[in-house]
């Protein structure tokens, strides 16, 4: 059972530039979609992130049904993360650790998509998507902002102590130890699997790659070297987003390939431009800006939850 929100929020833009989306079942201005895809691509190139956490909320704000926004967002993430993974191919990808992460990702995305379907039927999916965005973007954004402010301060006041490279945490005592050579790690597979499960859940419920949570988890929790983290997380995201896309196609039937293709093409162009601009900025400044952006999207989602809606009633059409 698939629900279709009746009602296209966007205004009367130039009629000739409208494109009909076959799964979302509404027509949207193609220039608006290209601009959105391009802008998100620019930011993802600038900050080196997938951009899934930006594209899904933007699609929802445009009036695309949340189910279609999430499922199509996952499809778009496949393209952006795969192109990023190929770019990092010659550097290092830890395939063994990636495989454990993916196993966890599968464990997370199967119940994730099922949960999504049930919430969709019960009319609570919009709420859960918004809450998930507010919680994750709020906490990650605050942490990132605090971290980048600290590192900008540290850069201006030399002589402060460096972070210890490798700490011994409780999780290093867990069983099922495995050796991950490219990451120079000998750790338990359990925390790796758990990180994978969280990534899979995020991909299926929020339509994001989950890089914003995977990357810090791999660096700070697992203690992986940063250069291996990038390629490996992209490898994991490509696979998990692919699985989430297929599961959404089967379960919610909300993947709109026409919409995905428009976003992918414009995103690719935007990200090349963004990557070039990114080279001119300092890493700490970039991280600070990204943190602000993450917080902004989270705050916008949060505003949608507390602001009194225009209409206290919502309808969803059940597909016969």
């Amino acid at each position: 059972m698939q629900t279709r929100k009746s009602g296209c929020k966007q205004g009367r833009l130039d009629q000739s530039m409208q494109i009909y989306l076959p799964i979302a079942e509404l027509s949207v201005n193609i220039l608006l979609l290209l601009a959105m895809g391009g802008a998100v691509g620019f930011l993802s190139g600038l900050f080196g992130v997938g951009g899934g956490f930006l594209i899904t909320p933007l699609l929802i704000f445009t009036g695309i049904p949340p189910a279609v926004a999430v499922a199509t967002g996952a499809n778009q993430v496949v393209a952006s993360s795969f192109s990023g993974m190929l770019a990092n191919w010659k550097r290092s990808v830890d395939f063994k650790l990636g495989a454990v992460l993916i196993a966890g990702g599968l464990l997370g995305s199967v119940p994730g998509v099922e949960l999504f379907r049930l919430l969709n039927i019960r009319g609570q999916i919009d709420l859960v998507i918004s809450l998930a965005y507010v919680a994750f973007l709020g906490s990650i954004g605050s942490l990132m902002l605090a971290e980048s402010v600290r590192s900008i301060r540290r850069a201006s006041t030399p002589g402060m102590g460096r972070r210890k490279l490798h700490r011994h945490l409780w999780m290093h005592g867990l069983p099922l130890k495995m050796r991950f050579r490219p990451s120079r790690l000998y750790i338990s597979a359990i925390p790796v699997l758990v990180i994978g499960v969280v990534g899979g859940l995020l991909a299926s419920i929020m339509g994001v790659g989950g890089g914003f949570i995977l990357v810090p988890a791999m660096i700070y929790l697992l203690g992986m070297p940063t250069n291996v983290v990038i390629g490996t997380s992209l490898f994991q995201i490509t696979c998990v987003a692919s699985v989430a896309t297929i599961l959404h196609a089967i379960n919610t039937q909300a993947v709109d390939v026409v919409l995905a293709l428009i976003l992918i093409v414009s995103g690719v162009i935007g990200s090349q431009w963004g990557a070039r601009v990114g080279l001119k900025l300092k890493a700490e400044q970039l991280r600070g800006l990204l943190a602000l952006l993450v917080l902004l999207v989270g705050a916008r989602m949060g505003y949608g939850l507390v602001a009194t809606p225009d209409d206290l009633f919502v309808i969803s059409v059940l597909r016969p």
């Binding site: 770019a87 089967i250 919502v314």
Partner: protein
């Protein structure tokens, strides 16, 4: 005149007589400018002209030749089930709480008439034939936390209002125009998010508050070309569709990377 011709003439006469009977089929003749609306990638909505003619006044002697008549036209989309949910503030945030599911809700509904509905027809007639959005009634399929009939009515009204906001429900009272004495016309606008399926275009001829003649014509709204292919694949072969979506994305990602490393 031989026997055979005589027989044919008599049958023709008989048919003529039945055709002019009390349920005068010739009293109302209607048609549409198109019977098929195709949704393509550039679909931004469509306009269909509904037109017709009122024939000779019936033989009913009680009606004076100057008796006025009115026209009401209803365009109904395919019936669907719709869940209407009510948001309530819970712990500071707006949450969908109570819900009512209605069945047999037309996915599209437009009504037009020559005059105000209550003036041209009796309320019982409007209710029986569901003419006018305020006279629409839907069977209740399921209610969660809202089984009170008055509350149910709020949900029905909200549903109609939301459909009207997305231009899928519209009242065009007085918009049926006459060209001369007998010809009438009205243009129905289908918005870009119009549902697909078989529509019914009903034209009612009203005299003295009662329906004296009616005609129904089908209208088909469907997706064609690539849109139809994509939609059918997505609903009939979802695994294959998902796989294709992933392969397209992987191909696009690869192409992007190949283009990037050219520099």
């Amino acid at each position: 005149m031989n026997m055979r011709n005589c027989f044919l003439f008599l049958t023709a006469l008989l048919f003529q007589a039945t055709a002019c009977g009390p349920a005068n089929a010739k009293e109302l003749v209607t048609s549409l400018s198109e019977h098929l609306v195709s949704i393509t990638s550039s679909f931004t909505g469509s306009e269909i002209l509904v037109f017709g003619a009122v024939g000779e006044t019936s033989d009913d002697p009680t009606l004076s030749p100057f008796e006025t008549y009115d026209i009401a036209i209803v365009v109904r989309g395919p019936p669907v089930s719709v869940v209407t949910r009510n948001k309530q503030r819970t712990a500071g945030i707006w949450v969908n709480r109570r819900s009512v599911q209605f069945g047999g809700v037309p996915g599209f509904y437009a009504v037009a008439s020559t005059g105000p509905l209550r003036e041209i027809a009796r309320e019982t007639v409007l209710l029986r034939h569901q003419i006018g959005t305020e006279f629409l009634r839907f069977p209740l399929e399921r209610a969660a936390g809202a089984d009170d009939p008055i509350v149910e009515d709020d949900y029905r009204r909200a549903l109609i209002q939301l459909f009207a906001n997305s231009e899928n429900y519209r009242d065009e009272i007085g918009k049926v125009t006459f060209l001369g004495e007998r010809l009438f016309r009205w243009t129905v606008k289908l918005p870009a998010n119009v549902p697909v399926g078989v529509y019914k275009v009903e034209v009612y001829l009203l005299r003295g508050g009662q329906i004296t003649s009616a005609q129904t014509s089908p209208l088909f709204v469907h997706k064609i070309g690539i849109e139809r292919g994509i939609f059918r694949l997505a609903t009939e072969q979802p695994f294959l569709y998902g796989l294709l979506a992933v392969l397209i994305a992987l191909g696009a990602g690869w192409a992007a990377n190949a283009a990037l490393s050219q520099d």
